[in-house]
């Protein structure tokens, strides 16, 4: 004991028992084995990654071409890789919880505290480290290409945002190996997460993980909004922006206004826990209801922040694969804006049951139901886009179909839950869990997977394998339906969310169906992995380097695949909403410009990775009360900025001659390859040049 306290200035409250591997040696039960098994996966995964990087001598490439890069395309891909790694963990945690549910009548195999940790990490990971980085990654890649820009407005800030998001993800990963994560759910509501009830390190991991990542997302929002306002190509006024860009604009605005309440909530909770403040404690005038309000003031806009870009992706997909102009563009824009505004007026529906009285509930209940109107309009608009089109049932369209069918169910249950009368019964039950999975999986995740299939050829220059893609899509849809629709039933039967066990035998068969769905979802994940592997293996047959494999309509398809670092050899002038389609119809899509100009691009910088490392160490040392390390790592951040400010060499020039050479080489390729019809788009003769089938 005394030796520990002597060391405490050095290692804070870390003890040998903080390491899950030590715990399993002391107490080898199934529960501990699963926990330490997960920790081992993290360690083994890290070791394998490091060995592979060393074996293939990729460290230099990783460092120079990726970690130092401020290229929005590379940052976008890194965001998506991060999201996919975290998705794997999140899905596995979900699968373990569903399995526990199936055996929960007899007590199951998980201890309650471990189960609580699982639902907390699952929720935190899926929202903050899967959905958010996945969405931000896709936006990062596509947005500048769609508006004819060379990069986002603040490329270095973009790199720092990625660094902070990675910090949050890293802290959650570390919590698997060192100590325990919070058991307070993804919203970590006090007073349960206060010092009196949870003195351990769990809630602190949550605070620093979400707090730092959330701050990064605020910066991202500012970056995207400014990019859209300032970097659009000439002629692209607001009502000529592609719909995806519109949704990103709304999302960016939501990010700017919704992330700060989260930052405030996490940091005031930190003050409560670290400095004996009493914002949310039971005593001394603390008020836990303020936390709930602050959190959901972020939490509700958050779900629209995620779903709006998803709507944007579906708008692009449905129009491209129906070979038709998007129906009701103005309607869709207004609907998006209405949703963005309304998203800030409904947060109270997350706690109709807090006792605020009928009139307040009525106001927020009606506001919540109103969101169904613009959302419904969007769905009808996409259906009208399909009407009298020529629809190709490709992978993105399969996801879109799944979205239509399943998301509508989620919409119906959403309207139900907007009724305080029904919420009084369904709140905190699995009905609610079913509802938000029902909107987030078919809504956000299916959109992202559709978006990956759709834009992958743009980013990597070859198409993804259709067979494995279709298998994955179908398995996802069936798996989702089987796994989550039954939860509506047990929810209405009265099973509270976050229950590790239950006593009603009627729940068991229903939850077995769910488990069956989980098997489908895991198969879908496996298919996705196989798809990536097969696609990379067969990439010679699916090259679409010319850049337009799907007969696209917006500017990102007008350049080579993958695009050059500077995106556009010359910035296009926009005259139409579907500018690239219009250019193809005019016959000047692949025109050689009269002259080229030098392009100024930002130089690489290590500031993002430095901030990421410093913030991770800062978070870790604050969690474990290692004050000296916290001070050092905290001071490292401003120091890094000061040092960086002395580097005046922040721009590099790509000469006109270089650009002309690259561009001419690509144009030669355009002239050589055979244009293809839509019937041939999934065959190996698709090199990314489309026959003009539509006349204006």
């Amino acid at each position: 004991m005394s030796s520990e306290s002597q060391l405490s200035w050095l290692i804070g409250r870390l003890t040998p028992e903080s390491f899950s591997i030590v715990k399993v040696i002391q107490n080898p039960t199934v529960n501990e084995l699963i926990a330490s098994g997960a920790a081992m996966v993290v360690i083994i995964g890290a070791v394998i990654t490091i060995s592979l990087l060393t074996y293939f001598k990729l460290w230099r490439t990783l460092w120079n071409d990726w970690l130092l890069s401020v290229d929005h395309k590379k940052i976008g891909i890194m965001y998506i890789v991060l999201a996919l790694v975290m998705l794997a963990r999140g899905v596995l945690e979900g699968a373990i919880m569903m399995t526990q549910h199936t055996y929960g009548l007899d007590g199951g195999f998980l201890q309650p505290d471990h189960f609580a940790e699982l639902f907390s990490t699952h929720g935190t990971i899926m929202i903050f480290f899967v959905a958010m980085p996945f969405i931000i990654g896709v936006i990062n890649y596509i947005l500048p290409l769609q508006i004819g820009a060379r990069d986002v407005s603040f490329p270095v800030l973009n790199q720092i945002s990625l660094g902070l998001t990675t910090t949050g993800a890293a802290l959650i990963m570390i919590s698997l190996v060192v100590g325990d994560f919070s058991t307070g759910g993804w919203h970590n509501t006090p007073p349960y997460t206060g010092l009196a009830f949870n003195p351990g390190e769990g809630p602190d991991y949550w605070i620093w993980s979400v707090g730092l990542a959330g701050f990064g997302s605020t910066l991202t929002g500012i970056n995207f909004a400014v990019t859209i306002y300032k970097e659009r190509a000439p002629g692209m006024h607001l009502f000529r922006m592609p719909l995806f860009t519109w949704t990103v604009l709304c999302t960016a605005i939501i990010m700017i206004f919704a992330m700060p309440p989260l930052t405030v909530a996490t940091f005031t909770l930190a003050l409560d826990r670290y400095l004996d403040f009493h914002f949310f404690t039971n005593d001394l005038g603390g008020n836990m209801m303020n936390y709930v309000n602050l959190f959901w003031l972020f939490g509700h806009p958050e779900v629209y922040l995620l779903i709006l870009p998803a709507y944007g992706i579906f708008s692009e997909v449905v129009s491209t694969f129906s070979s038709k102009r998007l129906y009701g563009y103005a309607s869709l824009v207004y609907a998006t804006m209405v949703i963005a505004v309304l998203s800030f007026t409904v947060w109270l529906h997350h706690f109709f049951t807090m006792g605020q009285g009928a009139n307040v509930n009525i106001a927020f209940g009606i506001a919540s139901m109103c969101i169904a109107v613009p959302t419904g309009v969007k769905i009808y608009d996409w259906m009208a886009t399909m009407y009298r089109g020529r629809i190709r049932f490709t992978v993105p369209m399969i996801y879109m179909t799944g979205f239509f069918m399943m998301f509508t169910v989620g919409g119906v249950t959403g309207v139900m839950l907007a009724n305080p009368t029904i919420s009084f019964q369904a709140h905190n039950t699995l009905f609610l869990v079913a509802h938000f999975h029902n909107v987030i999986i078919p809504g956000v995740l299916f959109a992202l997977l559709a978006g990956v299939s759709y834009w992958f050829p743009k980013a990597f220059g070859f198409r993804l394998n259709e067979y494995w893609g279709k298998s994955a899509a179908l398995l996802w849809i069936v798996g989702f339906a089987l796994a989550f629709l039954p939860l509506y039933v047990v929810g209405l039967m009265g099973m509270p969310r976050r229950s590790v066990t239950y006593t009603d035998p009627a729940f068991e068969p229903v939850l077995m169906v769910s488990l069956f769905g989980v098997i489908f979802i895991l198969s879908a994940l496996a298919c996705t992995l196989i798809q990536i592997w097969v696609s990379v293996r067969d990439r010679a047959k699916t090259r679409v380097t010319v850049g337009d494999p799907w007969d696209g309509r917006s500017l990102e398809w007008s350049i080579s695949s993958p695009p050059p670092e500077y995106n556009f050899a010359i910035i296009p002038t926009v005259t139409d909403r579907d500018e690239f389609m219009a250019a193809k119809q005019r016959g000047d899509a692949y025109k050689k410009p009269d002259q080229y100009e030098d392009i100024h691009m930002p130089t690489d910088t290590p500031i993002g990775i430095i901030i990421c490392l410093a913030a991770t160490i800062l978070g870790f040392s604050l969690v474990w009360y290692i004050w000296w390390l916290a001070a050092v790592s905290f001071l490292a951040i401003p120091l890094a900025f000061i040092i960086k400010s002395f580097n005046l060499n922040t721009e590099k020039v790509i000469t006109a001659a270089e650009i002309e050479k690259e561009h001419t080489a690509w144009l030669d390729q355009v002239n050589q390859v055979e244009p293809i019809t839509r019937e041939q788009e999934t065959t190996s003769i698709n090199h990314g040049l489309a026959v003009v089938e539509i006349t204006s």
């Binding site: 201890q111 505290d113 609580a116 349960y192 009285g357 209940g365 020529r390 009265g494």
Partner: protein, 331 residues
């Protein structure tokens, strides 16, 4: 092919199990036993039906469009540049708007009518019960009778019950689904709930807000009984109950499930997992709320339900070993 058949077979079986399970609804507002739950169920069905008006076109038209306008079908009409129709847009915005207008009116009336704070009419005056949420059990205080219980809430059938609720630990949510909706309980604050049972029976009540490892076991029986049975129940509690004083309350305030409370404080005359208390101090409920309004901080080891509560008195206290846990409380 064989494997495909097996899959279909398995799927069919699962669907049958699923449907049969759905018919066995217990302890839920889908099988209501009181006026509030019955209205909530009716409202759920109404809302679903109205919303389906807007949803059905999606389920029908999407598969139809996908088929009718598939790429290979050259017969269907193709209008690549058609992008707007005023009438269609009017329908798209108008129909959902009309549905939401109707639903909003219903929402307004039902929310007013089923406000948990609104007393339910009944010929006799309402029975008053004070509810205290603790980790991980509910304490029901009957101020008229000076008695209390954990694990069981008895009340007469056909008589409304007027409840005031608070928490002596973290935030919790009190739900008896067969009778009425849930309401949060929070330390230092009071919420209200009114319930009434139309028929005698035992209905499951529970906490729905996660509050630690004993969360799944924070359940109780809400027992609706005849007036006579209720009088007998009060007599039973008065004769067999343990005295609720500072010492017993402090024991109760340690993290424990109803089962553990019964083991430590209960006796053989009380039913399993249920504990009765008598001689409840008149102002107990107000004292519990007042604890958080003294203007002074509550030390971490004196916060009921807290992780450090009474750790000093109960050496080797550990949550990981429930048997040991209850023994320690017994000392």
């Amino acid at each position: 092919m064989q494997s495909k058949k097996t899959w279909y077979f398995l799927l069919t079986i699962l669907i049958i199990i699923f449907i049969s399970a759905c018919s066995e609804v217990n302890d839920s507002f889908l099988d209501p036993k009181g006026p509030v739950a019955a209205e909530q169920k009716a409202h759920l069905i109404n809302v679903t039906l109205y919303t389906l008006i807007a949803a059905l076109p999606v389920f029908i038209l999407v598969p139809y469009f996908l088929w009718r306008y598939r790429y290979k079908n050259n017969q269907s009409k193709y209008t690549p540049n058609w992008e707007f129709s005023g009438i269609l847009d009017l329908v798209m915005w108008g129909v959902p708007f009309a549905i939401i207008f109707v639903l909003s009116t219903m929402l307004w009336h039902q929310t007013k009518k089923l406000d948990p704070y609104k007393p339910i009419e009944s010929p006799q005056p309402a029975l008053e019960i004070q509810v205290v949420g603790m980790d991980w059990k509910w304490l029901f205080i009957y101020p008229e009778y000076g008695i209390a219980s954990v694990g069981e809430m008895a009340f007469p059938v056909d008589r409304s019950v007027s409840m005031v609720l608070t928490s002596d630990t973290v935030m919790q949510s009190f739900l008896i689904s067969s009778l009425a909706g849930q309401i949060y309980t929070m330390p230092g604050m009071q919420t209200k709930l009114h319930i009434k049972a139309d028929q005698p029976g035992i209905f499951e009540g529970q906490n729905t807000q996660f509050n630690g490892v004993g969360f799944s076991e924070q359940k109780f029986n809400a027992v609706a009984m005849s007036d006579l049975q209720f009088k007998n129940w009060i007599n039973t509690v008065e004769s067999y109950g343990v005295t609720l004083n500072d010492t017993t309350y402090d024991t109760l305030a340690v993290q424990s499930t109803p089962e553990e409370v019964h083991e430590t404080l209960g006796n053989k005359s009380m039913p399993n997992n249920i504990t009765y208390f008598k001689k409840v101090p008149v102002n107990l409920y107000n004292t519990i709320i007042g604890r958080y309004h003294t203007g002074e901080a509550i030390p971490l080891d004196q916060q009921p339900g807290g992780a450090l509560y009474k750790l000093d008195n109960l050496e080797n206290f550990t949550n990981k070993d429930p048997d040991k846990h209850s023994k320690e409380i017994g000392q």
